[in-house]
Symmetry: none
Subunit: 199 residues, 2 copies
């Protein structure tokens, strides 16, 4: 259902101030905060929000103006899919969330990918491991990064950036490093943590 301008205004006020109130506000308090003089007018708006499913119906209970539980902040960080050298990231249809120790998180947003293949095995990253990736578009030489190559292949490699070229080093004695021009390689994130499940 479409909100009117005023309804949206009031809804946003409620959103912004949800934590300011120690108790849900009464109609009178809200009227004052919103510059209304009539409880009746406010009630009409609140009623519209209830019908739109944004506010809990409050059947005569006092101080009952409560926002509908927004999708509770899903704990953890999203598990997005799997990464295998030479293919695009294979996304899961429904992102799941994984609880990750804070020690493995950076300040920037992070996500989790599952590693396919053995290209980083000498760095202790095995087939099936989960890697925590911090979203960044730049990296320092020596970092292990998720890189998008030629706009189609995603890969997890150690990066070496030199003037005029970018080298992606696997960590596998049986594989060789690859050379690219800088504009062929887009850094999508930097390896920040690793999770492995046995059994």
């Amino acid at each position: 259902m479409q909100l009117t301008k005023r309804q949206a205004e009031i809804y946003h006020y409620l959103l912004d101030n949800a934590d300011h109130f120690d108790h849900p506000p009464s109609h009178d308090e809200l009227c004052q905060a919103l510059g209304l003089r009539s409880r009746g007018s406010l009630h009409k708006h609140i009623q519209a929000l209830v019908e739109a499913g944004l506010v809990e119906p409050m059947d005569r209970t006092h101080r009952g103006i409560r926002l509908v539980e927004q999708a509770e902040p899903e704990a953890g960080i999203p598990f997005l899919g799997s990464i295998a050298a030479g293919r695009p990231i294979e996304a899961v249809t429904q992102p799941e969330f994984m609880q990750v120790p804070e020690e493995l998180l950076g300040t920037r947003p992070c996500y989790v990918l599952q590693v396919r293949g053995d290209s980083m095995i000498d760095a202790g990253i095995l087939d099936g491991d989960y890697v925590v990736i911090e979203q960044r578009d730049s990296a320092r030489n020596g970092d292990i990064v998720v890189a998008l190559v030629n706009n189609e292949e995603a890969t997890l490699k150690r990066i070496e950036q030199q003037p005029g070229r970018v080298i992606l080093h696997p960590a596998n004695a049986s594989m060789t490093a690859m050379n690219y021009t800088p504009d062929a390689v887009v850094i999508q994130g930097v390896l920040r943590g690793l999770l492995r499940s046995y059994y």
Copy 2:
């Protein structure tokens, strides 16, 4: 259940003053403290708190207003210390707790140790990694276990149990497996997960 404003007020008063009382307060004392003149009125509020599960039901016992212990669910599993081949587990003085994805947990209690040394490097377990250990006293051949050897040395190795002897295999080409009698090796847990932090 949602508390009314007054109920929340009283509950917070109880929380704030829980330690001030040498014994749980009587209704009369609380009335005085809260500025109420009627025990009956207070009783209604306390009753609501009991129904909300915040106050112990006090079936007619005198001076019985007691808060329900809010067993705050300690998030995560304990980080106990570090394990290095050939030494006892070095315990941290104050166990910290780490958030660990459910995928790495078993049904039994788990704890976290930090790995010191390179003895399992060929299994992708590096110096500094955190391992999630499930408490068990037995393991299957091939499992990586925390084993207490000769009642003094703790070590993380792949186990092979044969009639009359136990072999602990490192995963490092430059190290050799060790043979023990079964009673010299006590299994303390089985490797269940691994966490690694880069940077």
